[in-house]
Symmetry: C2
C-alpha cells in the first residue's frame, strides 16, 4: 500500500513486459487474466507476477484475477506511457540512420525530434525527414522540443563527450549504443544497448557450454 517503498531492480525490468502483454490482451478485448496465465506467457511464475504487481497497490481480485482494462491503464500511467517521449539522436552513422528509419521512433509513444552529428559533411543533409544538425545545436534542440531522452549512436571514443553535452543540455535519460560505460550525474538514467557484448556473450556460451541458455529477462 505504500507506493513509495523501494522497487526491486528485477521487478522494474519486468514491468515493461507485463505492460506489453496486457496491452495486447486489452487490444484483443479480453477482460480478465490471472497471475499464472500472465506469467506463463512471459516465462515467469504466478507468484512472481503477484509480488511484482503488489509493489504498486492492490490490483487483483481474489477468485477472479486482474481486470485487464484497469491494469492496462494503471501500468500505462506508472510507466509514463500516457505521454509522448521526445528524443534527440546524436550520431547519423549506420546505427543512427537505422533508428531514424525505424517506425517505432516516429510513433506517438517515442519520437526522434532532432539529429545531430559531428561530421560537417553530414550536417545539413536529410535523413528520415529530419535535417542533421551540428553538435552545438544539441542544447537548443533539447529545449525547443522539450526532449527528455538522448540517444548516443556515435563512435566509441566520442560517447562520453556526447553524454556530457546531453546532460548539460538537461536530458534526463540516455539510451547508449556505444560499448563504453558512461559516467554521468546520478540523476540521469542510462540504458545501454551493447550488441557487441551480446555477441561476445554468445561466443562464450557456445564455446564454454554454459548451461542456462536464456538470459535475464
Amino acid at each position: 500500500m505504500d507506493e513509495k517503498s523501494r522497487i526491486p531492480r528485477p521487478t522494474a525490468k519486468r514491468l515493461t513486459l507485463y505492460f506489453r502483454q496486457i496491452r495486447t490482451l486489452a487490444a484483443a478485448g479480453r477482460k480478465t487474466i490471472n497471475s499464472r496465465q500472465l506469467g506463463a506467457a512471459l516465462g515467469l511464475t504466478g507468484a512472481q507476477v503477484r509480488k511484482d504487481l503488489a509493489c504498486f497497490g492492490q490490483f487483483g481480485h481474489p477468485g477472479v484475477g486482474y481486470q485487464i482494462p484497469s491494469l492496462h491503464e494503471q501500468l500505462r500511467q506508472l510507466l509514463g506511457r500516457d505521454r509522448t517521449w521526445n528524443a534527440v539522436l546524436v550520431g547519423a552513422g549506420n546505427i543512427g540512420r537505422a533508428l531514424l528509419s525505424y517506425d517505432r521512433f516516429s510513433s506517438e509513444d517515442f519520437r526522434i525530434v532532432a539529429v545531430c552529428d559531428a561530421d560537417p559533411s553530414l550536417v545539413g543533409s536529410e535523413w528520415g525527414g529530419r535535417e542533421v544538425l551540428a553538435m552545438d545545436r544539441i542544447e537548443s534542440a533539447v529545449h525547443e522540443h522539450d526532449a527528455k531522452l538522448g540517444i548516443i549512436a556515435v563512435p566509441d571514443h566520442a560517447a562520453q563527450q556526447v553524454a556530457d553535452l546531453l546532460v548539460e543540455a538537461g536530458i534526463e535519460g540516455i539510451l547508449n549504443f556505444s560499448p563504453r560505460r558512461l559516467d554521468v550525474d546520478e540523476t540521469v538514467s542510462i540504458s545501454s544497448v551493447d550488441f557487441t557484448r551480446s555477441l561476445e556473450q554468445l561466443a562464450f556460451q557456445i564455446s564454454f557450454g554454459v548451461s542456462g541458455t536464456e538470459e535475464d529477462e
Copy 2:
C-alpha cells in the same frame, strides 16, 4: 581448481568486460594489474573481480596482482575469441543493413557471411558487399560457411519462424533483435537486443524516479 564447477550467471556476463579491459591494457603494453584497479575501471569491487576470475583457476600472484599478457591469453581462449565466428544474418531491413555496414561484423572476430530476406524484391540485391539470398538458402549458407551464429533482424511476427529455420539449419547461438521471446531448443544459446524495451525502461525510470540509475552490467 575444478574447471567444471558451475559458473554463476552474473560472473559469465562480466567476463566479456574483463576481457575488453585486459585486451586494451595488453595492447598498451602494460604488464600487471590488481583486482581493485581492474574492478574500478568497470564499476566493480576488487573482491568481485577476484571471485569471478577464481572460477577458472589461479591467475593471480599475491602481492603483485595479475599478469596482463597471461590473463589476456587465458580469457581469450576461455571466451572462444581465439577463432572467427561466422554469422548468418536474416533480415535486410533497417537494422540488418546497419549491421552489414558495421565494421565490427567484418572483423576477424565476427563476420556476417550471408544475408537472407523474405522480400523477393530484395533478394539478389547487394548490401555491404554481400548478395541477399532467399530464405530457403539459410540452411545451405550455414553449412557452406560453417556458421555457428544466426542474427534475427526481421519484423516481430516472423521472428519465431526464422528462429526455427536457424535452429533446424544447425545454428548454435542466436542474436535476436526482435522484441519477441524466442522458444528454441535448450542447446541453442540466445542473446536478445531489445532496444524498444530499453527505451521503455528509461521512460519508466524517469517518470517514476527509480533510485539506481545504472543497469546490471
